[in-house]
């Protein structure tokens, strides 16, 4: 139909315009990673380098033990994501499906923790970790990040939208609460869970200050720490930084590309009448 074709075109135009804006920094990052140093800060900007300096990548790789960092990043990201998913699912379930004394208060208190700038928490946390003897261990990198109020809140909202009839059916079918959570709620909340996981993975992957603060040895550090190698007192080696950054975010992009369709593929919601 003409009209819907028209509106379709408008949608594409709008989306494309937005997409250009969204793409800019990314394109810039890639193009900078291939620039000669003098092109980096040129004004007006150079978008296509005169000469493509692929050696920036090899040079960037040399600056820090990126292979080791990569492995650490993977370990920390995977473990903390799994940990967060578990604690989140459990807590979100309690907040969405169980009526208990003080529920609203506990929830409000947890929300409250999000309102305090993390800057003031850094030092007390360091001291705690230090008392636990966790400084410079994987535990310090992972455990404090295995629970997140944000994720609990998000999932709780999603869980609240799942019809209670299903929990009725499951109970009748002899399903314990815990199994119900696992077999019914979690699969139905797949889009939200994937969202939580994606955001978590990205945050964890990009975390910079924390790994620096709680580790001392190279063996435990993660990729973003490697990126700091290009920053000096008087400036930044942008071309190398961007080359390294590109390599760092590439896995995230691929992951997102793969996972986003699960967010939107959706879960069939029929099976209920009324």
């Amino acid at each position: 139909m003409v009209k819907s074709a028209l509106s379709r075109t408008t949608i594409y135009i709008l989306l494309s315009l937005g997409a250009v804006l969204m793409l800019l920094p990314f394109v810039w990052m890639i193009s900078t990673s291939l620039k000669a140093p003098n092109e980096v800060m040129a004004m007006p900007p150079v978008w296509v380098p005169a000469e493509w300096k692929f050696e920036n990548f090899t040079e960037a790789m040399r600056v820090a033990p990126f292979d080791r960092y990569f492995i650490n990043s993977v370990i920390v990201t995977i473990v903390s994501t799994i940990g967060e998913l578990i604690t989140t699912i459990l807590a979100a379930y309690a907040f969405s499906r169980i009526q208990f004394y003080g529920r609203d208060i506990v929830f409000a208190v947890l929300l409250g923790t999000m309102m305090v700038p993390s800057e003031v928490l850094l030092i007390p946390n360091f001291v705690t970790l230090s008392n636990l003897g966790w400084i410079d261990t994987y535990s310090a990198l992972i455990i404090p990040w295995t629970a997140s109020v944000f994720a609990i809140f998000l999932l709780r909202q999603y869980f609240l939208g799942i019809p209670k009839e299903l929990s009725f059916a499951a109970k009748v079918d002899g399903c314990s609460e815990f199994k119900f959570l696992w077999y019914v709620m979690a699969p139905l909340a797949k889009p939200a869970l994937i969202t939580v996981a994606l955001l978590k993975v990205i945050n964890s992957w990009n975390a910079f200050l924390w790994p620096i603060i709680v580790t001392n040895s190279q063996e435990l550090r993660t990729l973003p720490v490697g990126l700091s190698a290009f920053t000096t007192e008087a400036g930044i080696k942008y071309e190398l930084l961007m080359a390294a950054s590109s390599m760092v975010i590439l896995p995230m992009l691929i992951l997102f590309f793969i996972m986003q369709k699960y967010i939107v593929a959706g879960v069939a919601r029929t099976g209920l009448k009324g």
Binding site: P37, N38, V40, M41, S130, N216, S228, T232
Partner: protein, 430 residues
């Protein structure tokens, strides 16, 4: 906190086995440890990355191989801000390393909160200390900035100063001489301004320039003894007016949205600017293919030369065991030895911290090749350093804020400086 150094058994042992392995040793007293003494580990936290970190690693390797029982472990802790945050945290958790790099401005805070060791006992130590000649070999301005009332709390390490960068092409085009005084600067700026080019440039954090001019005019920024800000004086007003006038007239600008002046300078948008000597490599890459440039000393005013020195020192924390402190001291000496500081200077662009370092042939050759590096050491004698007081960063924030208001024309120079001074004093008197 570091009394009783002399009693440590490693102390006398030091001199006895020079024969062991170290052949390149030049400093007396930095010999290897005795085989029987306990192995000591020294953590050294720094904020050097990239090639700088490589260089530090090399130094450490060299040092470790020369000292069998000492293992220095350098740990990069991100940027200076990160490093400082981490030191704060570690201090609180009582898990400070033995050594760390520290921006000169924060050393007063460290002292105030009592977690750095005074170094006098080490320096004055007969065996492992520094001889008078050695002490005298440290560049004066650095030495002064490392001591408080005669007590040394740090040794200079990666130091920089403010120098003047200029576009040689442009100056030649207008047949202009390399500027030496503020009057020259004004002249040149007036001449070359126009056609998209601004004559003079200041970094956004030009309070360093303000201090230098203030000093050249004979004023005082902060009295270190009384912790009192005094920059709203006649001299201060004059210094500030001088810069503001240039900016108002359009013959000077700040880096502004370009963040660092090296960018517009490299593009050829400004003919000259004053910036940190540590920025030389950045100017190099920004200018590559665009302009010809060089650097010279900070301009003088009425024959008065004065320029501020800044950068990083090395401090030793008092939470460490005595043996560690002693080992750390060895490393501090090593890092500031003429050879090492010369090499460090050539690799990093920071200034050598020993006079004698400049005399080495390698360094001479280096400066020959890179004349812009000459400017820094040339002004050692005119050097001063920013008052080191607790609350110094607060003052810096206040001054930056108020000068911005002055530049924006929201406050007159007098008002701005006065209010800055009042606020600064309030912050300092706490």
């Amino acid at each position: 906190a570091c009394g009783g150094n002399e009693e440590t058994n490693g102390a006398e042992a030091n001199e006895e086995e020079t024969e062991q392995e170290s052949t390149e040793n030049t400093d007396e007293g930095t010999e290897t440890e005795e085989a029987s003494s306990e192995p000591v580990e020294v953590d050294f936290w720094h904020a050097m990355s990239g090639p700088h970190e490589e260089a530090i690693k090399e130094f450490v390797e060299q040092f470790n191989s020369e000292h069998e029982n000492i293992t220095v472990t350098p740990v990069n802790q991100g940027s200076y801000d990160d490093l400082e945050q981490k030191i704060m945290a570690a201090a609180k958790a009582k898990s400070l390393p033995t050594l760390a790099q520290a921006v000169t401005n924060v050393v007063p805070e460290y002292i105030g909160n009592d977690f750095v060791s005074p170094l006098n006992d080490f320096i004055e130590d007969e065996e492992i200390g520094l001889s008078d000649e050695e002490l005298a070999d440290y560049v004066d301005v650095f030495k002064e900035s490392s001591s408080w009332d005669g007590t040394y709390y740090s040794l200079p390490f990666s130091k920089s100063t403010r120098i003047l960068f200029y576009n040689t092409g442009l100056l030649e085009e207008h047949n202009l001489e390399v500027p030496e005084t503020w009057a020259d600067i004004r002249n040149i700026a007036e001449t070359v301004t126009g056609d998209g080019v601004v004559g003079m440039g200041f970094e956004n954090s030009y309070e360093a320039e303000f201090q230098a001019i203030l000093k050249q005019l004979g004023g005082t920024y902060i009295d270190e003894a009384t912790s009192e800000a005094q920059f709203a004086s006649e001299e201060g007003i004059k210094a500030m007016t001088m810069m503001k006038d240039m900016i108002d007239e359009g013959i000077a600008r700040t880096a502004g949205e370009d963040d660092y002046m090296s960018n517009p300078f490299g593009r050829g948008d400004v003919a000259m600017y004053i910036g940190s000597s540590a920025g030389i490599p950045h100017v190099g890459s920004a200018a590559e293919g665009n302009i010809e440039w060089s650097a010279t000393t900070f301009p003088t005013l009425d024959g008065e030369a004065a320029t501020s020195f800044a950068g990083n020192d090395i401090v030793m924390f008092n939470q460490a065991e005595e043996a560690e402190q002693k080992a750390a001291w060895e490393f501090m000496k090593f890092l500031t030895s003429p050879e090492v500081t010369a090499e460090w200077s050539m690799k990093s662009g920071y200034l050598p911290v020993r006079y004698s370092a400049q005399e080495t042939s390698e360094y001479q050759a280096f400066v020959e090749e890179n004349p812009e590096y000459e400017a820094g050491p040339q002004q050692f004698d005119a050097g001063f350093f920013i008052a080191r007081v607790q609350g110094g960063d607060a003052v810096r924030n206040i001054v930056l804020e108020e000068t911005e208001l002055i530049l924006l024309g929201e406050k007159s120079v007098e008002e701005g400086l006065q209010s800055a001074q009042d606020r600064a004093n309030e912050a300092l008197q706490k």
